[in-house]
């Protein structure tokens, strides 16, 4: 990965930012939540691995499990 990449995901009441970046030989993802009272600049979750695609997929899976696109009700 040449430079960091930012994914913005909108969910009900919260904006999730997933930042993917290279750290030495590892690819890392840091997940942040904004809105709904969560304003701290500490990531709510991190993922690391050797492949950008795998790290992104794992981060997305984590987000979808906790912040699903369509909340029933």
């Amino acid at each position: 990965m040449k430079t960091g990449r930012l994914l913005k995901l909108q969910r009900a009441g919260v904006e999730l930012h997933v930042y993917l970046y290279q750290d030495g030989s590892e690819v890392k993802a840091a997940v942040y939540a904004f809105g709904g009272g969560a304003q701290a600049l500490d990531p709510i979750h991190t993922v690391s691995g050797s492949s950008e695609a795998a790290v992104e997929a794992e981060a997305r899976t984590w987000v979808e499990a906790r912040f699903p696109k369509n909340v029933p009700g």
């Binding site: 960091g4 930012l6 930012h17 930042y19 970046y21 290279q22 890392k28 809105g35 600049l41 990531p43």
Partner: protein, 339 residues
């Protein structure tokens, strides 16, 4: 309409000479309606095409004062009857505006009194604003590519009417020393009444701007731009530079934002030395609950960020230089930001 206004003002304040119960104490006087307008051609008269009105300005008639609201209207209460003059308090005017000639008023006035103010711009074009800077001024990352400029146009039109035009002279990847070299050509092309300078973000990429040579060429370049703007009688508005998105952990965001903060201290000091109005974009960003939702990437704002930038420039353009707090006219700014 003027006589209707005078009659209604008189009725509302009990100042009518025909009032059945006149108050016998000190002369209460009568209210005078005033309209503060931008007298573009400086002839002292409100001409049909002069559509800018100035909110927040203190109008004085005799010894009494009132402040203009949205639309430039003010009511000065309890003005003694007889021959008076209307004027504006210079310290209440937006930067670079100057009072026009005093206006004779016979009180009670039959109509709202137009009070002129002028903006010395030489041969430049009224209501034209030149946005000058790097890719942030260019609008990189915004949905339609217009960045803060279209938000500012809308904000200016809402604030004081007229037909503001914010022209793009942003050039991506440029640093302040390049800006100082190219501003003359941009001014020649645009002939703006105002020049909105926003430079410094990319200077970080020069090592000399980060080591003990800080602030390197940045402040000298900005000073040079200010002087060039003034040499053609355009009016500079100097922007502070925005912080970077702090979640880009591999790009030294903490170190860089410390540098941005220190550079902005220098930029504000420069503005004070030169008597230039500041658009404190940095302070506007830092007042938000969180920075990341204002960005589309590491450097460039998203729509929310560009809208905030426009609000900061609007304050820089319209708030008197003597004001030290953004709170003074805060109520005028709440409704802006929709493109």
């Amino acid at each position: 309409m003027g006589s209707v206004l005078a009659a209604s003002l008189g009725a509302a304040c009990g100042g009518s000479p025909s009032s059945p119960n006149p108050i016998p104490s000190e002369s209460p006087g009568t209210p005078v309606g005033a309209l503060v307008f931008y007298d573009e051609n400086g002839n002292g008269v409100l001409d049909p095409l002069e559509s800018l009105r100035l909110p927040g300005v203190i109008v004085q008639v005799s010894t009494r004062t009132g402040q203009t609201a949205s639309g430039g209207h003010a009511i000065v209460a309890n003005v003694p009857a007889g021959a008076q003059v209307a004027s504006v308090r210079p310290e209440s005017l937006p930067p670079y505006f100057v009072p026009g000639p005093q206006v004779p008023v016979q009180v009670p006035a039959a109509a709202e009194v137009p009070v002129p103010v002028t903006l010395p711009i030489g041969l430049n074009r009224p209501n034209v604003y030149m946005a000058f800077g790097d890719s942030i001024t260019f609008g990189e990352g915004s949905n339609d590519g217009s960045g803060y400029r279209s938000y500012l146009e809308a904000d200016l039109r809402s604030y004081w009417g007229g037909d503001a035009s914010v022209r793009n002279e942003g050039q991506s990847a440029t640093r302040s020393n390049t800006g100082a070299q190219r501003i003359g050509r941009s001014l020649d092309r645009t002939r703006p009444a105002y020049t909105l300078i926003l430079y410094g973000t990319n200077d970080w990429n020069d090592i000399e701007c980060r080591d003990d040579r800080f602030p390197c060429y940045t402040i000298d370049s900005l000073r040079s731009m200010i002087q060039e703007v003034r040499s053609i009688q355009s009016h500079p508005i100097l922007g502070t530079i925005i912080p970077v998105n702090p979640i880009f952990l591999d790009k030294q965001p903490t170190e860089r934002n410390d540098w941005v903060k220190r550079m902005n201290d220098q930029i504000r000091a420069l503005a004070k030395q030169e008597g230039v109005a500041v658009a404190d974009v940095y302070a506007t960003f830092m007042s938000q609950p969180a920075l990341p939702p204002l960005y589309t990437d590491f450097l460039h704002p998203d729509e929310q960020g560009y809208s905030l930038m426009a609000q900061a420039f609007l304050r820089g353009i319209t708030q008197p230089l003597s004001a030290t707090s953004t709170a003074r006219r805060r109520s005028f700014f709440f409704s802006f930001g929709d493109r």
